[in-house]
């Protein structure tokens, strides 16, 4: 937990430094029309860096000796995050409808170990239902790929 607190504080402080650098480039003072663009971000970032130092000090002094995440608990988390990232990559490549069908099918088989009948029903049913609700009724377009083009959308 201590390491996680320190790392997070360090990342946030580094982000703060980045903001300060950009704010200085934009000007942090008084322009012709009031405060310059960098004024607000500059002071935010200065405060942020200060807070991160305080959190780091706190973390060094009093942290309970529990790990941020146990090795056993990390597995299920990555098992969600990995396929989800894969799903986003697929969405970019072949559109959301096909990607969500593949993603659901894969996840339900790999993690859920569902029967093929259930997998096919959900993995096909969900994208089809989404298509009608979003694309047809509410006219909100989703990313599409070759399959949709082939079907004429």
């Amino acid at each position: 937990m201590r390491a996680a607190n320190l790392i997070t504080a360090a990342i946030l402080a580094a982000a703060g430094v980045l903001v300060v650098v950009d704010a200085v480039r934009l000007g942090t003072g008084w322009g012709t029309d009031g405060p310059q663009s960098g004024f607000f971000p500059f002071w935010l970032a200065v405060l942020l860096i200060g807070c991160c130092l305080a959190i780091a000090a706190q973390a060094v002094r009093l942290t309970l000796p529990v790990p941020f995440v146990t090795r056993k608990a990390l597995g299920p988390v990555l098992a969600v995050l990995g396929p989800a990232a894969g799903f986003v990559v697929l969405t970019q490549a072949i559109g959301l409808y096909v990607a969500s069908a593949l993603y659901m099918g894969f996840y339900m088989r790999w993690i859920g170990r569902h029967s093929w009948a259930a997998i096919v029903a959900v993995a096909i049913g969900f994208p089809v239902a989404t298509f009608f609700v979003f694309e047809k009724w509410f006219l909100v377009p989703m990313p599409k790929g070759p399959l949709e083009t082939w079907l004429g959308y």
């Binding site: 996680a4 997070t8 663009s37 969600v80 989800a84 799903f87």
Partner: protein
């Protein structure tokens, strides 16, 4: 005068179309409240794009009904499954789950829904009375007053939030910094883009809400490896009636819970502390405090009344000042802007049909809500029996759809994933998420108010203290801001430092 307006509102809210919208909203909201990983805020965020083509009044009725539904849904999982769907239902599990295990799930649920209804009604009545007055006062506000209110909003997270005040401040600062990414509308300069074109548009808070609360929550749920083994509830008209007969004797708890809820609720982050406070008070004043935690019905009544009263009260600053009190209200505020309405006090003058339709729909929505949840509890509870292997990809896909449809942009789905990881890490390290979201929403408004105030005063910060209204608000804000430091100092004087206790999370 107020009464006529309310009548006008009911004419809007009671239109068959709007009643149907309310029913759909509550049904969906209850489902969202029951499902892990989909709470009020991101449920509203995901459905927001679907309202783009609707008339604004129906759209806000859909979203608020969704919110009431989510509040009711949280009670179902707390009582039957011992899983608080929302942080403010944590206190409901203390006595609700023991009751359900004893076979009194029906009684606990009836008590919870009825208390929710009473708390909500109390807050709606107060909103009906006070919202026009507050809007009238707010019409006289200038930039310094608005900035002072923002200051108050964020200092109450620091002073009253309950967690680590420095971490609350970090969340706020991070939200403001993320809000400043992209084009500066005042000077036209590009900020924090570092030459990356994608960053020019900045970060949309709706995407942040979906990532932080949706994806982050799923990751947490998976890590805890929850399995849903719930008690079943028999709920029938006789159980409901028998329970209702016992409830009037807790009228004191109802009144206390409602008042605590309203008082805490119109300030940010209030619902969760309100529910705990109400529970603690009920226990202290009870003649049988030893029964609390073992399945005392009063222990269900107290937190539910307060949580729901607070949840409704959070709408008050949103419609009168244009400053949301909770992430859910923030998403609704975002909706208002997208539908072409200008949130703030002028709304009462320009669109009375919208404002009063919304207020009237809070009455109708809560009546419909309590009837629906009482009738359909078994169906809603059955949702939790959907296996995780099916639920997880469904929720992830729904979140992705919601994130994409805000701007029809692919990069938002990536941001959603990133915010999901941030949400997971922040939640584990006790950084509150609600202030981050509110800061991201209010960033531009706050910065503009600050700039305009400073232009008015030619650079002097004293303007916030010199004007009477903003001076008073700023003073309260500063008090809240330094409250943690003050109480720490006092504790140091009295006793040697004790190890920091872990606080309940207060992300609404």
């Amino acid at each position: 005068m107020g009464f006529e307006n309310l009548l006008l509102g009911f004419q809007v809210a009671l239109q068959p179309h709007n009643l149907m919208v309310a029913v759909v909203g509550i049904a969906l909201g209850t489902v969202i409240g029951v499902l892990p990983g989909l709470g009020g805020a991101n449920g509203v965020a995901i459905l927001l794009p679907l309202t783009f083509t609707m008339p604004p009044t129906s759209a806000i009725i859909l979203l608020t009904s969704l919110y009431w539904g989510a509040l009711f849904g949280g009670a179902i999982t707390s009582i039957l499954f011992n899983i608080p769907g929302e942080p403010w239902s944590v206190a409901t599990t203390f006595d609700g789950f023991p009751m359900a295990r004893r076979g009194e799930g029906g009684q606990a649920l009836t008590a919870a829904f009825t208390s929710s209804f009473v708390g909500a009604l109390f807050s709606v009545v107060l909103i009906t009375l006070f919202a026009p007055l507050l809007a009238e006062v707010a019409l006289k506000f200038g930039p310094p007053e608005f900035f002072a209110i923002q200051l108050l909003t964020f200092s109450s997270f620091i002073g009253l939030g309950g967690g680590n005040p420095i971490k609350s401040l970090v969340s706020i600062l991070l939200g403001f910094i993320l809000a400043s990414v992209g084009l500066d509308i005042v000077t036209g300069a590009l900020r924090l883009t570092f030459g990356v074109t994608e960053l020019m548009k900045g970060f949309d808070f709706i995407v942040a809400v979906i990532g932080l609360f949706g994806i982050g929550e799923i990751l947490l749920t998976m890590e805890e490896g929850l399995s849903f083994k719930g008690a079943s509830a028999r709920i029938n008209p006789r159980v409901v009636w028998e329970t209702w007969k016992t409830l009037p004797r807790y009228w004191r708890t109802f009144v206390r819970g409602s008042m605590i809820g309203f008082w805490m609720g119109f300030k940010p982050g209030g619902a969760t502390p309100a529910s705990f406070m109400s529970y603690a008070f009920a226990k202290r004043f009870s003649r049988h405090p030893e029964r609390f935690g073992k399945g005392e019905i009063e222990g269900v009544v107290a937190p539910e009344t307060a949580a729901h009263a607070a949840g409704v009260a959070a709408i008050l600053p949103m419609i009168t000042l244009g400053i949301p009190g909770s992430p859910t209200a923030a998403v609704m505020l975002g909706g208002l802007i997208i539908w072409g309405l200008q949130p703030g006090p002028m709304l009462f003058k320009e669109r009375p049909d919208f404002v009063w339709g919304l207020i009237a729909s809070m009455y109708t929505g809560n009546v419909i809500g309590v009837v629906m949840v009482l009738l359909f509890v078994p169906i809603f509870a059955a949702i939790l029996r959907i296996p995780f292997g099916m639920l997880t990809p469904l929720i992830v896909a729904v979140c992705a759809i919601g994130a994409y449809s805000v701007h029809s942009s692919m990069i938002d789905i990536w941001y959603m994933l990133g915010f999901g990881v941030i949400g997971y890490v922040f939640k584990k390290l006790d950084y509150p998420l609600a202030p981050l979201v509110l800061a991201l929403v209010l960033g531009d408004l706050a910065e503009n108010a600050l700039r305009q105030s400073l232009i008015m005063s030619q650079g002097s910060l004293l303007i916030f203290l010199n004007r009477p209204i903003s001076g008073a608000i700023t003073a309260v804000a500063l008090f809240f801001f330094f409250l943690p430091a003050l109480s720490l100092g006092r504790r140091r004087l009295k006793a040697p430092p004790a190890p920091a206790a872990s606080h309940p999370d207060h992300t609404p």
